[in-house]
Assembly symmetry: C2
Homo-oligomer: 419 residues x 2
């Protein structure tokens, strides 16, 4: 890592108009004044991407049987970040700083050809490093790249976070600062629990669990990339005053080993975007589960939690699983179509459920975390419908009406309000 | 030339929204149905370029001492054509046609590094020709290119016409069709003379004189390029019904030799964007003219017509010259500042003048054209203030109030209403 190199990333809300772009420029200038060589990654001005997506839809991209137009969708949509990068470079120069814009094809950010959701394959860093070494701020259009054949690609929604982390890895930056509309990662959603505390640090693994559980601060892909490339990421507010950022600002997402104060549980996450599908009276014979889940997988329906239980009669079982809420109707239709083949008696969908989870790397070495969770929920009368666990996470599915109650109970049970 | 290859160009008004882009796609499809291999050059959606120019101005591009930001201006502004190209490709595919977008850097359209007003230096045609040969419509973002170093450039306002002609030359197209909001080149402005006729053909030289005289159908640069590259250009209306274009549609701008019916005068042009500066009582000594015009040239004020005449006294002269109306105040200030050095007695500016011109390659071989002009104007009581001529053009400066009268008189005098 090169201590002086820093990547800063600003999302669409932070660059929504010229006034905000000037504000971003002042934040960048403050880091330059501190002695950093800065690469800034920017998104499209808020609203612009949606405007262009609407045009491509009106043009027929979304029409049945035309997924191949995603390459042209990328040509249209990538223009949004191009505009912001040029504008920010102009503003920085107007402040007397050396700066130039870099588009995905210029660096180049090489990706595969999965248009609309491309993956970064390589970023030759020499041109960027040379520019930064001669004191030029590199203003980079996020969200975009190009194929080896020279066609424009986009990384999909939220891809600018991924661009920023990949650039940070390529230029060996000391850190990637993601400026966003929150001032860090919290122990839980402060809108539900006012005693939620900002975490000074959180491990990549915990952040991944938090993100995938609905705490939408960082895109999952960008955290995965940061973890594999060992890039420290800082989440901080774009409303901070230029020059005010200190070591204590925001939340740093980093390696577990770099976190001094050990906690058993770091946060309580929740997601209301769940639906539970229950199959009653399944034949208790081998191969039944396989039939159910291959049927769903073929239709691209992702299944999350699964629980199987004995039915009243000895030779039958019930099975419940969860899917994303918008897939619920689809899952129901798929199951009904396969009812004869699978051989269950009845199927039921319940969209009135929520998933609540406690996350923490400390669970690996501490027993009794699940026990505390179940006890805390039981004391509040919260019934657990399904349970699933990973090494650093325990999730329960509950009646959606109990979501806030459960979140607050768990936040208190693990002492998260007293960090 | 390859008989089946055709370039079609559509300006900002023709692609202002998705409905009009669909209309453009139908016009393209009609040419494909006729057996053409088509390259389409498009401008930004009407209004988009202005929006982006305003942003770059707000960012400080226009601030004093920052012309170097024109490279970033180009990055921002070039995104407009990129969007249109992608959208048109999507719509064409949705109609079942093979199509893909090409940006300036992809072809590449190589230019010099005069950002904001770059000149095309080379267009390697192989990639485009290969695409067209395999039956793919090439949808090209106009107005843009890239430097050999890989930075985006723009060709300046109206540059899409130039892009289209340059592409036509590069792929050896049989013709470059420029779709615009008029249905061809007229003998004069039909809003002034209702008997104005559409010309079936006009020579490059005549078109250049017409364009530079204020008949703003084609950009001068694109006509110059068409002339030097011998690309036939057709001007036609974008409101034509798809499939309705025939050999008789629009006006073809071509080599003089390809025009069968010879005319002495092809058209009457006029410009109200003129101002006359008169210097009284100049010393009648060598070097005075040189002082006047070098002073104006250094300040980038273009001078058009010039006339010098004896004053009442033998050793003094008067001089009158014309400048663009927006330069009039500037010219006046420059003259006043240099009054002592030049040594004239008084200076006067008259912005209430118009330039009226007759244009025609036939003048080269026909005497008496000027004579007819002066006679026609005299008969209507129009006083001529200044005269200038070129090989194929005679221009007179008159009182602006007589503009329409003079245009109609000349249109009739040369029989232009009886083509």
């Amino acid at each position: 890592m090169v201590q002086t190199r820093l990547v800063m990333k600003f999302g669409g809300t932070s660059v929504a108009d010229m006034e905000r772009i000037r504000r971003v420029a002042r934040l960048v200038a403050a880091e330059v004044a501190r002695g950093h060589q800065v690469a800034v990654v920017v998104s499209a001005m808020a609203g612009k991407t949606n405007e262009m997506v609407a045009w491509t839809d009106a043009g027929g991209r979304a029409a049945a049987g035309l997924p191949e137009s995603d390459d042209e969708y990328d040509v249209v949509v990538a223009s949004g970040e191009q505009v912001t990068a040029g504008l920010l470079a102009i503003v920085l120069r107007n402040m007397g700083l050396a700066a130039r814009s870099w588009l995905g094809w210029q660096i180049p950010i090489l990706t595969d050809d999965a248009h609309g959701k491309a993956r970064i394959e390589d970023i030759p860093p020499d041109a960027l490093i040379a520019a930064m070494d001669r004191g030029e701020i590199a203003v980079i259009a996020g969200f975009q790249g190009r194929t080896p054949e020279g066609r424009i690609t986009t990384l999909g929604r939220g891809g600018s976070d991924t661009s920023a982390v990949a650039i940070a890895a390529a230029v060996q930056a000391v850190r990637c600062d993601i400026y966003t509309d929150v001032d860090g990662v919290y122990t839980t959603d402060p809108r539900i629990e006012s005693r939620a505390r900002r975490l000074a640090r959180i491990s990549y693994e915990e952040m991944l669990e938090m993100a995938s559980l609905g705490a939408k601060v960082l895109q999952t892909r960008s955290v995965e990339l940061a973890m594999s490339q060992r890039v420290p990421v800082r989440v901080l507010s774009s409303f901070i005053e230029p020059g005010d950022a200190s070591d204590d600002t925001g939340t740093i997402v980093c390696d577990e080993e770099e976190i001094m104060e050990k906690r058993i549980v770091s946060g309580v996450a929740f997601s209301r975007d769940e639906a539970k599908v229950t199959l009653f009276g399944l034949p208790d014979t081998p191969g039944v589960s396989s039939k159910i889940f291959s049927c769903l997988a073929e239709a691209n329906v992702n299944v999350d939690m699964i629980v199987q239980s004995k039915a009243r009669t000895a030779d039958h079982a019930n099975m419940a699983f969860t899917v994303g809420r918008r897939d619920a109707q689809r899952a129901l239709e798929l199951m009904r179509a396969a009812q004869a083949e699978i051989g269950f008696e009845d199927v039921e969908v319940d969209a009135d459920v929520a998933k609540v989870s406690v996350v923490g790397v400390g669970m690996r070495s501490h027993a009794g975390v699940a026990q505390s969770m179940f006890k805390a929920l039981a004391e509040k009368g919260v019934n657990i419908q399904v349970i699933s666990t990973s090494e650093i996470k325990i999730s329960v599915l509950i009646d959606a009406a109990y979501t806030e109650l459960a979140v607050r109970a768990l936040h208190a049970a693990y002492g998260l309000d007293q960090l």
